[in-house]
Structures are given as C-alpha cells and as structure tokens.
Symmetry: C2
Subunit: 364 residues, 2 copies
C-alpha cells in the first residue's frame, strides 16, 4: 500500500493511504508495533456505529483485548472535562504501557485522544485513523495534540507523534458534502504555499475531486501529507519558524471563526476566506500578482468555498487578531504568498493595509 | 557555583547547588535562558510567605513581569482539578511561549507546575527550585512531571525536562525534622544502588548531615544529583530498564504507603522500610550478605528512619504490589542489591520469599 514517511529520527512513522483498507489495518500495523496486546479505541457515537464496529471486529478477530471509549462529538467537548473522564476510563480498563490508543474520527477526536495518549502513564503509543478530509490532510499528521480552554482554542496540549497514521479514503464517502469541501481549503493551501504543480493538478481535476473519485482523493491526500510531512520533519516543534508557513490564511481565519463564535463557518471555510484576505494583502504589498490571486480565488470557488463575506467587520477581526497566540506584542505578522507555491512571513504589517484586505473580501 | 550537568542532547541542563544562592538565581539563569521577560512563579501559601516573596522581589528588581500563582499544598492537590485551575490562571496572566515557569516547593508543586509547563501551549520552559531534601535529590531532577488520579498516584504526566534546577541548601533550614530525615532515605538509596564510597561517606558523616551543616548538605545533594543525572542521561524515558534501579525499595514502599492510605508514613519512611524488606529478600535469595543488610539497617537507623513495623501485614502488602503499575501480568519483580553500590532486577520472585521478607521487618 502506498505510504508517506514522516522523518523524525526515533519518532519517525508512516502514513498509509488507500481505499477500503480499514479491515487490514491491524494485521499490517502489528508488524511495526511491538507487543501490541491491548487497544484503547476512542471515537464518537456516530463513528462507532459505522466505522468503529468494523475496527473493533477486526481487532477482536485478531484475539486482542479491546476497550471502546466513546467521547461526545463537537469542538466543545475537546475539553479538560472530557480529558479527565478519558483518563479515568483508561485506568478502569487496565490500560498500561503496552496498550495502544487508536483515535478514530475527525480532528476533535484525534486531538483529544492523542493528548490522552501523550499523558497517560507519561505517554502511550497511538495510531491516528482520520475519518474526515480535514483530519487526513492536516490534524492527524505532525503530532499536535491537545484540548481547548473555555477562553481559548488549542491552548493546552503536547507534541506527541503517532506511531502510525492509517488513512482509508472510503471513510470520506459518508462525509457530509459541506465538511468534505471544507477540507479542500487546506488542500488548496498546500498548493499555494509549497507546490505550484499540485495547484495545477487541483485546477485540472476539480470535478473528479468534488465527485470523490477514490484515485483523486488518494492523490490529493497523499500529496498534502507529503508536503506537511516535509515541513514537520524540518521543524517538528515550531521553533525555527518554518512550520509557521502552514498557518497561511489562519491568522485571518481564526479571527473569523472567533468573531462568529465558531457557528457560522466550518474551519476550512474560514480558512478559504482567510487565504483570500491574505492574498489581497500580498497583492497590496506588491508581493503577489493579481493573476495569482484570481487563480486562488477561482480554485476556491470551484470547490464551492466562500471567498466573500458580508459584512466585512474589519474592526472586529483586527481586535480578534490581537488576541491570537501567534501575535507577539501586538505586531501583526502574516504568512503571505510571493508566487503560487511559495510564501514568506511578513512581520509588522500596517493595520490600514490589513483592514483594507479584510474589506476587499466583502461583497457589500 | 558548583553545578551538576544533566546530559540529554538538546534537553541538557545544569543543577546549581549552593547555600544562600536564591537571591542570585535570576541574574545567573538569565544568561542561559533567552528572551525571558515573564515568569510564572508557582508555589504553595507557606512557601510563598517565606521563600516566594524573596524570589518575587529578586525577579521584580530585574524589571521582569511576574505572575505568582498559589496552589494548595498536599498530595491530594496534585490533581486534575488543580491542573485545570492553573491552566486558566496562566491564560489570564497572559502567559505565552516566552514565559518561564518557576516551580518553588517540594515534589507536589514541582510535579504539578512542571506538568502545567509541559502542556501549556504545548510546552513552556521551566525551572525547578526544590525546597525539600526529597525534591532536591529526587523529584526535581529527571523530567518526570504529572498528577495523580483519585484511584492511582502519578498515573498522568509527561517527561518534560526543566531548563535548570536551582538548589539553595538554605531552604532546608526551616524544613521540619521528620521531613528532612525522610529525604535522607533516598540519599541512602543512591549509596546502596550505585556508590559504595558515597555510602561510606554517609556512615562517617551521619551526625553533621543530621545537624544540617551546609557543606554536608551540599555534598550529599551534589552526589545524589550526579548519580541520578547519570541514570537519567542513560535512560531518559525509562525504556531500557536502567532507570528502574532508582525504584530500589519502592515496590515495597509504595505498597506500604497505599495500605496505610498515605497517612502513617512519609514517602522516605516508607522507602526506608521498603529497602529493608528488599534487603531481606536479597539475603534470602543468597544475593546479598547479612553484613551489608546490617550496614544499610544501621545507616537508616542513624538517620532515625524506620526499619521495623508492627504489625507486618504481609498479605495486604502482597495484594497492593499486584496493583503497582510496574507489576506486569502479576509477576513480582524487584530491584535487589548484590553488594553495596550495585543492584540488579530480579524477575518473578516467589510469593513465599517476598512474604517472608515483609515479615522479617516486623517487630511482632
């Protein structure tokens, strides 16, 4: 099965990518994970009813002891309360240092279960099995795990690399349309920040991607994972600044999510608007061409992602950006494109330019 | 100032050991810790009133922004609830990736504050400033941080190395006598497991150690830290088995603590009994001489640590040891001495031998 290698010295691992591969996961991974005799399978109720039962059965047919822990779905449950409950349940299930945590679900479950794995007995092995496009191309790769505080998202967590990531594109067939398209925003992001030929591939194959043809899905997931793996290998803990390029569109995007109380836009939709704002800012600063901005806009529109919002609310977004954990001493820093396939970090952007870029993405 | 180096590649750090050095901590450490402009000082109420104010004043005179977070004292507060509260307080104090957490106190504060540092924004720099002998020679060195679950101690946590450990022996002058002597049990342990000449030093200098003479304290703290640093450098995450030798006396000791509900014995007192039981077991297995056991016993008694208990309760201890997180599939494994200064791990000890070793430490 094709796989992507994430090179991180003694924390290296593989991302397996295929279609209808879920039933073969355990037999394949057991070759790489020693003394695996107990699994803590963590997923939400809906995923358990569909995919969770499949995974449980394949684990059981292997003779393995398995504990299924169901967590409530939704971002609001990526919380200290859910984490504390998981810890107690893991203890009650006699989880020990040889147990393997399997996180089956989207980003919320992956982040929460990964953080539980990182902290139970000071760290258990875990496997990410992402079931949404967003989790496949973004949150399941790179070792960021964690929870939210009531006042701020992703404020608590650990860098804790999985022992394997298992991606079965078949999981996406039942994903709601809007959630699938939301994941495509991060896919477009990889093209803009790192790979023009991948961007062209997306332009050319937009319809088969939207139709969720399995080879199209496998291609975009594989290339996205390869690109993310390269960045993570070069800057695992976000210390050199390189990993920050993955935040293209995210400073604007997080502010959009925060000011709409995470209710109006899905994450990828907010990132689509954020990349459009960042693109305008880059054009305004003379770094990027109008033509490139148009290509980005057209590709996002082809994936039916938002590129305009009404009203613009520049002042409110500006204020939210000041609270972003990446903002240092009030200076506005942005990852901005210089051409399709290349970005750089620009420090200390003028508030006027930033506000005008927000307003440019308004159809008022 | 004399210091001990802990070699852990990019996680290496120094342990500074001196007397009346607390006022110079910040100016010295600032040379090693870049961009340190905000401190989160974590301690309990009693320590804040005595040493915390000193540290705060020296930080403030340096012009640094400082947030003092007071945690309740006592093992029962090394909990998920205390951790969650610390996270929120750190956020309210605008703690960011450039902040440094300073843990000032004994093992409870060090473990809790260290785990908060490990998990806030996926990891902040922190400094351990141990104020008890036990914390100086054991918990502040080696990167084990964490909290208890209601059902089990130290079940949740992370390996997170401090950026520095700062030891001022003067802090021990106000420590209650029983707590000071409790810390000496771990000091004796280092002699038995790793260094016969250190053991002899302890035998020869028992009275100046008990009198808390500052050069005696500095000597025993320095040698204990050197020995622990060597073990930690060789097996940071307890994967090779080497670090397990630090558990000499602890399988028995933890069972004694658990069966007396952590109320009757201080940790070091339970370890003193545990080492005596382990010593008896080693003699019974023909690994150790009666004479060595007597030397260990006499040294522990010189430090007025318990070497007999009444009644023996072997059955209850045996049951508690089965629940220890180091027990695998019910097999009783012990770290046992072969001579003073050397131990090995013995797997699958017979329950009869173990029970008899417990009974040998009874004065009934």
């Amino acid at each position: 099965m094709p796989s992507v290698h994430v090179e991180l010295a003694d924390r290296s691992y593989s991302i397996s990518i295929g279609t209808k591969t879920l039933p073969h996961m355990v037999e394949t991974l057991k070759g790489h994970i020693n003394s695996w005799t107990h699994t803590v399978l963590i997923c939400d109720e809906r995923i358990f009813e569909t995919l969770g039962i499949q995974v449980r059965d394949s684990l059981q047919s292997d003779g393995m002891r398995i504990s299924c822990l169901i967590v409530p779905s939704g971002e609001e449950n990526k919380s200290a309360a859910s984490l504390t409950k998981l810890w107690s349940e893991m203890l009650a299930e006699r989880t020990d240092r040889k147990s393997v945590v399997v996180a089956l679900g989207g980003g919320v479950v992956g982040d929460l279960a990964g953080f539980a794995a990182a902290t139970f007995m000071r760290g258990l092995r875990f496997v990410q099995v992402p079931t949404t496009l967003l989790a496949m191309v973004d949150s399941s790769v790179g070792g960021k795990t964690g929870i939210n505080l009531p006042e701020a998202k992703n404020m608590i967590g650990a860098f804790w690399q999985p022992h394997a990531v298992w991606i079965d594109s078949q999981c996406l067939q039942s994903l709601p349309d809007r959630e699938y398209r939301s994941g495509l925003a991060e896919v477009v992001k990889y093209g803009v920040i790192l790979d023009e030929s991948f961007f062209k591939y997306l332009e050319t194959n937009a319809s088969s991607i939207l139709a969720r043809e399995s080879n199209a899905i496998e291609s975009i997931v594989r290339r996205s994972c390869e690109l993310k793996a390269q960045v993570v290998a070069a800057d695992e803990r976000e210390t050199s600044g390189l990993r920050a390029i993955l935040n293209y569109g995210h400073t604007f995007g997080h502010a959009i999510e925060a000011t709409t109380e995470y209710g109006q836009y899905l994450h990828g939709e907010a990132i689509s608007l954020g990349m459009t704002m960042a693109g305008h800012l880059a054009v305004k600063l003379g770094m990027w061409t109008e033509e490139s901005l148009l290509r980005q806009r057209n590709l996002l529109r082809a994936f039916r992602l938002p590129v305009q919002r009404q009203p613009a609310q520049a002042a409110e977004l500006m204020e939210a950006m000041q609270l972003d954990k990446k903002t240092e001493h009030g200076k506005l820093n942005f990852v901005l494109p210089t051409k399709i396939g290349h970005v750089k970090t620009v420090a200390g952007c003028s508030p006027t330019d930033v506000a005008q870029s927000i307003e440019a993405v308004s159809n008022a």
